[in-house]
Symmetry: C2
């Protein structure tokens, strides 16, 4: 591909907040000349979009494939936290993401995951201590310390946590926050430690408090959390403080759109076009000091071409002067890649799921569509042959978490609202330790779904008597090493079967993947047992 | 359910070729009174539909589930040849179909399969010799000798064949034909042996010759062969000689419609309504002497209720006075059933599929969409590491047939026109011996698809790196023992993946299932090797 050329149109200059008619000359991937003059072309040339916070792993695609899908939507760069793969493979996983991302013409800016493992109450595949973080921070490939979820650690001056923060400061790299419900003096302490962003706001009030303390707010709209509607009013009052991000984006949804969707939505709501475009690019570039071109002389030629300024759809996406996508078709070629993994689970047997009836009521996890939080209640168990079984009529199903890092007896609990009428689902995407999480209407269905998953070294599976679907994710049990568009179709197929099995959830596998996430209240299941997030400790399945 | 009641409307009396206003009294499942009188109701009460020739097995449903789906479309009875299960399980299979069919209020009339195995050039699971046929014919549960495909045997007075025919005659039971291209003196010999029907006509000319010799013609429109358009003109000239049948009906298509579709289509073309309705019921009932009610005094109360005589859609279906279906919803309950099978294949290994290059051209099977016939041609092989591999660019893929009755090295050949761009498909529905047939773009994909199938004791599977779908068919490797509507959805899912893998065929699994059918020209693959139907013998994959 030739990356020396001239292109003319209406040039959107976000740095100087103006739009002018002119010509851009690109030589060797950089902008060598910008000439302001009348041109016959009414198309707009504007900076490409930046996803200011996204876990690439959630797309189930390796970075090189993520790039293919995202660049079709005008995305040229991401600020990415390899938190998921780090929980499985540690530093080796972080390195894999960096190396894989370099195979393609796309700009990945990775951070060092600050909280691996997420808690001490679960089995992860790896951990990153303060000296690991120091080592990562020293690398030119690491751009920031990523989401500091351990806000108690910050507030109470946990030594290890403070050392990680000190490392980031030593190298002059920003520190990302993650503080959904932190407020008042705790928040002041959290911010004063040097944490400068938050992407977990879900109400204006909390966001305004954080902005008041100097934080930047990432407006998040992904496959999991959706905060755009709640936070977009900040565009009128604090546009310079905002960035757009997706956090988690499933492959089928990434195929449908990315940051461009937020841009069009915000412009359609009447917000200032330049403010919106800055939130979609310049603000992140400035905050994280990203080497992403902003259509300035000498910049990398990273930009997109759109027909309609007020509803920008990327007709062409250029990165370092390379036309990486045109009219929705990627020019990036699929790259072969390795499949590093850590997967030592053994096949389950029926005995493993047996929960003897103790004549007591059971504590049931209640999940909610589209939410990471759960509640809990006590219920009479359904008993068969002395064992507690799934109760389809009351929609109280068996939930299982299986340690995937070494053969261990699985943890078994019960969950309300999954809605399955038959069959079972299993996933090795299970935040944050990514053990195997499964739910099903009979022990036999659960066994089949889990064992099918184990057979493939990870992935998502749906099983019932009449059919089964498996989507293997051999890279850390989180990502496929195959073509991203095919993975999107495969995931959609698994999702469709999950719904055919009776689940009314918007994204059954996503909800499932958060049922082992111990840092979000109220009741979750780790591979080690039922976990009460408020007490921050294990509790019995039975009412004492 | 109460099966004594009175129902009024416009009564369609096919026996006497008239329609009159009146009331039907049903007592204990039989018609105890018919009163001709004015009624306020304009709905039509007419005999239910009869599928005059269908292999239930092709629906992938056991008879008790087939009944649920078919009765919703106004079907009350089928004339059914258990040919497929007989090839796997012999008499035991025939008995299974009869017993299973009796579990539900639906009228199955089974025949004795005349040609099991279909040829001596393949490995079937069982055989039915003349004394087996004699034993079956003696049973009250067997209504006819089913499709005599071995027309050379009839024409040349093969002793075994003639004994089977003699058995049927001895018990006064009809003998069904299957003589697609037989004509002239051969046809005369075939008919004079006592064979009275044919369902293989695809041109008016051949059908008229057969009618001239006294045969009845079954107008067939199923998932595989579609002859309605070619043969329906006979409705104007020879309505009494016609019956409607489907022969093979996949579960998803059975869910969409059955004989009722042919009825509506024929009436819409302008043929006489009573003639069409007779072809859909009375003609088969008379020919096969079926105990199916025709709305005559003393008959079983088998009938349907429709709103529009000229576009009949079954609002209600009654069998022996039981309301088995209403407004598309079945009142028949799902029944548990056993899963008899014969499945002794071992997992395949890569070596099993290796075809050493001999420096010669290869003979390629050319398949065609929607056709059972194939052609052949010679091609240069694609060679890798000394072995011949699938050539996706030229769409020449490896085709494999694996003996499922005992562990044996598979037969490997090559096929054009399957269109797969990636992955592999496998099926244990593989006419007529129902070994495992598979096609794929790499040996590895084929291995996975076949082994996934073997793991489940039969079924259909689609496999690729990004996903896999399996539909287990544990009853003889041909049918599911589960809910028919779920099986329909599962099959549709496998079909969708086959198409996503690149196949442009209308029904990839159906085409695949006929690639081992040795009685249809020109080149096929048995578990024992490449088979030239014209020479009726094995030939080499290589050009000699």
């Amino acid at each position: 591909m030739n990356n020396s050329f001239t292109i003319g149109g209406q040039i959107v200059d976000l740095v100087n907040s103006r739009i002018f008619s002119g010509v851009v000359v690109v030589e060797n991937g950089k902008i060598s000349k910008i000439e302001e003059k009348a041109v016959g072309n009414t198309r707009y040339i504007m900076p490409g979009f930046v996803d200011a916070h996204v876990h690439i792993e959630s797309s189930m695609l390796v970075p090189s494939e993520f790039a293919r899908l995202a660049s079709c939507h005008g995305t040229v760069a991401t600020v990415s936290d390899p938190h998921e793969i780090a929980n499985v493979l540690g530093k080796e996983g972080v390195r894999y993401m960096i190396d894989n991302g370099k195979k393609v013409p796309f700009k990945f800016f990775f951070g060092a995951p600050s909280c691996v493992p997420a808690t001490a109450f679960e089995t992860a595949g790896a951990s990153l201590n303060a000296s690991d973080i120091e080592e990562l921070m020293a690398s030119d490939d690491i751009y920031y310390l990523s989401e500091m979820m351990n806000y108690p650690g910050v507030i109470f001056d946990d030594r290890e946590v403070m050392e990680k923060i000190a490392s980031a400061k030593r190298y002059g790299k920003p520190i990302d926050g993650h503080a959904p419900a932190v407020t008042g003096p705790d928040l002041q302490k959290y911010v004063s430690a040097g944490i400068t962003t938050d992407h977990e706001c879900f109400r204006l009030e909390g966001a305004l408090e954080k902005i008041g303390l100097g934080m930047k707010i990432l407006v998040r709209e992904g496959s999991a959390a959706k905060n755009f509607d709640a936070l977009i009013p900040l565009m009128a009052t604090h546009p310079d403080k905002l960035m757009f991000c997706s956090d988690d984006k499933h492959p089928d949804e990434l195929d449908d759109g990315h940051i461009d969707v937020l841009v069009r939505k915000a412009i359609a709501l009447g917000y200032n076009v330049l403010d919106v475009l800055k939130a979609a690019s310049l603000n992140a570039v400035k905050h994280y000091k990203l080497n992403v071109g902003m259509l300035q002389l000498g910049d990398d030629a990273d930009f997109i071409v759109v027909d309609d300024l007020h509803s920008p759809v990327a007709r062409q996406t250029y990165i370092r002067g390379v036309l990486v996508a045109e009219n929705g078709v990627s020019n990036i070629k699929y790259k072969e890649t390795e499949t590093p993994n850590r997967f030592e689970a053994h096949f389950l047997y029926a005995d493993d799921l047996f929960v003897p009836d103790e004549g007591k009521r059971i504590k049931v996890i209640e999940c909610f569509d589209g939410q990471l939080i759960t509640k809990s209640f006590f219920a009479e168990p359904k008993v068969e042959n002395g064992g507690i079984v799934s109760d389809v009529e009351r929609d109280i199903l068996k939930l299982v978490v299986v340690n995937r890092y070494k053969p261990t007896k699985p943890a078994v609990a019960f969950i309300k609202n999954f809605g399955l009428q038959r069959g079972a689902l299993a996933s090795s995407v299970a935040h944050d330790s990514h053990n195997i999480v499964a739910v099903g209407v009979t022990d036999n269905d659960i066994l089949h779904a889990v064992n099918l998953l184990i057979e493939h070294g990870g992935g998502v599976t749906a099983y019932c008597n009449t059919e089964m679907v498996a989507v293997p994710l051999p890279v850390a049990g989180l990502m496929s090493n195959e073509d991203g568009y095919e993975v999107a179709a495969a995931y959609q197929n698994a999702d469709a079967l999950a719904k055919r099995l009776g689940s009314k959830l918007f994204a059954p596998f996503m909800t499932l993947s958060f049922m082992a996430l111990l840092v979000i209240p109220e009741l979750k299941l780790s591979d080690k047992g039922l976990f009460d997030v408020k007490q921050f400790g294990f509790i019995s399945v039975f009412k004492e």
